[in-house]
Symmetry: C2
Subunit: 418 residues, 2 copies
């Protein structure tokens, strides 16, 4: 690469208006009255969304491969097509009350990178691909991150195919119905490096007034179900001393879930999101309370330490009160540190482009978590309004959308070689 070319590359910018227009166009499919999007995976609307994106990819000269779980790879050839492609992607399925940006931004940012390279006739050394992963959201079919999970062999294709929605429809039948069962075996697809651009889905960038989050990794997660068993009794005739109030005991443990996170800063997170009280009647002392515990931290050791503390608190409370407390592990996701080469590529691109930036961690799962098991991977976060996501009012600023895509462009070019 001579000096003239390098200067051209350094000054290269994506077309923010075009990217924004594509986001708004895709958001029409499944648009909700409150400004959000409901485009559940493997529905007719999902098919329309996939078809639209693939149409854009074809217009941009990309070649399309669909694998057996419906993941799509849209490829721009490089100079040396024996090299593994540098891939970016995300998902275009949404939550039932989802927004315009979650996932969709990551896919369309990839399309915009390709369009920009086309505009300037830039050829990369390695091929570049834009991927969309099937059923990241998991709101119609579990598990979440299904397409990337099958790709990474976290679970089998058959397991994913057999998943049913609330009407009993299977993933396999619905994939076939919308015409998105491809030929390729999931995972039979080399990856040179993987980048994913995403709204932060949290308030940290906004709170710190930064444009770009250089994502270091994804927090480890432990999900538990906790059940406290007391004895239901009539609220009137039962004196305080003779009660076995399951809710009162539960409140202390719920508080310790938060306390354990506060004891392990800066990334410790503890949440009780779901509570069921039995029999849930105004004048009956709760006989049983079931609630969820969600613990997260930057390393598995830290999150396991938090879990140990919460269990110790439960044991203390049980001994003090005589009420049984049962804690059961529901799911566990290991902490992921993204590859230094990819993290550094993102950091360098943000610095070179002059965007304010900071280290970030992802508290939520993304398809990039599975890709990190297969190849050097990294993520780019941009702020979203009030940190709100999975909500029709999810919003992001056009200048941030543009900035994140410019960082993606330069990080990919660094890895792909020009």
């Amino acid at each position: 690469m001579d000096t003239a070319t390098r200067i051209d590359i350094d000054s290269l910018r994506i077309n923010g208006d075009r990217l924004w227009a594509s986001l708004m166009e895709l958001a029409k499919i499944g648009a909700t009255p409150k400004g959000g999007v409901c485009r559940l995976t493997l529905t007719d609307l999902d098919k329309q969304g996939r078809d639209l994106v693939i149409g854009w990819a074809k217009d941009a000269g990309l070649t399309i491969t669909i694998d057996k779980i419906g993941n799509g790879f849209m490829r721009r050839a490089g100079r040396n097509n024996a090299l593994a492609p540098i891939i970016t992607g995300s998902h275009i399925d949404t939550q039932p009350t989802g927004g315009k940006f979650d996932g969709n931004y990551g896919v369309l940012a990839g399309i915009e990178v390709v369009r920009t390279l086309n505009d300037h006739g830039i050829e990369t050394e390695a091929p570049i691909e834009v991927a969309f992963w099937t059923n990241e959201e998991g709101s119609r079919f579990v598990p979440v991150m299904m397409g990337s999970g099958v790709f990474a062999k976290a679970f089998t294709l058959e397991h994913a195919y057999a998943a049913t929605d609330t009407e009993g429809k299977t993933v396999k039948d619905e994939l076939a119905r919308i015409g998105y069962i491809g030929e390729q075996e999931p995972g039979d697809h080399p990856i040179g490096a993987y980048f994913e651009t995403h709204i932060e889905q949290g308030p940290v960038l906004e709170d710190n007034d930064k444009t770009i989050g250089v994502v270091q990794g994804v927090l480890g997660i432990r999900w538990f179900d906790c059940t406290v068993t007391g004895m239901e009794a009539h609220a009137g005739p039962t004196p305080m001393a003779l009660r076995k109030d399951a809710l009162q005991v539960a409140t202390h443990l719920m508080q310790d879930v938060v306390a354990s996170a506060l004891r392990h800063p800066p990334h410790g997170r503890g949440t009780v999101g779901m509570v069921q009280v039995f029999p849930n009647s105004r004048n009956v002392i709760p006989g049983r309370v079931k609630f969820s515990i969600d613990l997260r931290n930057a390393t598995d050791a830290l999150v396991d330490e938090m879990a140990g503390e919460v269990k110790a608190c439960a044991a203390r409370l049980s001994a003090q009160t005589g009420l049984a407390i049962h804690i059961e592990l529901v799911s566990s996701y290991s902490a992921i540190g993204f590859h230094p080469d990819c993290v550094d590529a993102v950091a360098r691109a943000a610095a070179r482009l002059g965007y304010s930036n900071m280290h970030a961690v992802s508290g939520a799962g993304h398809d990039a978590v599975y890709m990190a098991q297969l190849a050097p991977s990294g993520m780019i976060f941009i702020p979203c309004k009030d940190g709100i996501s999975h909500n029709e009012i999810e919003d992001a600023k056009p200048e941030h959308i543009t900035a994140g895509c410019n960082v993606l462009l330069h990080a990919m070019l660094e890895r792909a070689g020009v």
Copy 2:
């Protein structure tokens, strides 16, 4: 009354086997597989229960009056029928998963008193009546204690008639359908004194190993709905410091509800029985939590003091956290002290009969609460197994059933005069 007669009266006892047999016979109507009874008010089963009891009353020579809300009065004439009758009663409707004794015992104990007087040819000075009140339980139609409430003019007949069940059927239509709209205006019925025999529905008598509870009064009740409003957010990407977790704030207030009861012994009671978390999702920080508060104590001043403390705690929590806390009064029932003459009549009868006994308070509402507004009233409690009621496993010992009825007999005779 000469000495010989007095000795006869003092040694008079009800027939416990006959009372038990009647309880078991009535419990067949609406019997559930687990040994309970489901005989909701104004259903076909309720009609069958009413018909059975009235049949027994007619066999015992009683005359029947039904009022416009379906309350029944079964009268045994006295020597002086210008005197207001001494009435005992309760209800024969049950909870959906009710037991054999709640309410039913109070009515059939009255029938057994009459049968015993008949057996021995004893004539009372004042007439004696046995009442059954419509819809005490309130589980099909609200408000609870409907028949006695209309009788005491706590609300109007029209209000009660208009109440609908979940299928939209009205009290008036259902009363007419089962043939229990009578001629008498509710309340147009004199009461000399009122006694109600009931299982305790709490664990205090059993815990103290006493046979008879001499009920001093009924606790005042305040019901509130409390709503804590925070901001829902994704449990992963939202650091602890930037959260507005409605559940965590709510847990502190839930604990203060219990603490306020403990600060006001011996009769202070505080219960959070019902909790709804929004959106109630494992990985979403709760944005809103709604819960019930049930406060009770022996005087209105005490229960209002407890309510003031809980509200002050809510204001403190709201100031500390910035989260809005809204507390709304849903229902209020004044504390009732039963009439000393009736309380003493119960205490004297228990002592004379040699039953272990103690002062008791009723934490739950009963038809006697409304009667206490109209005439000297009192209640007799007997233990129930583990204090459990409103449950199919509700149980009481035959010897306690017998003892409570003997106390009723002697308390009524003291008030009616022999």
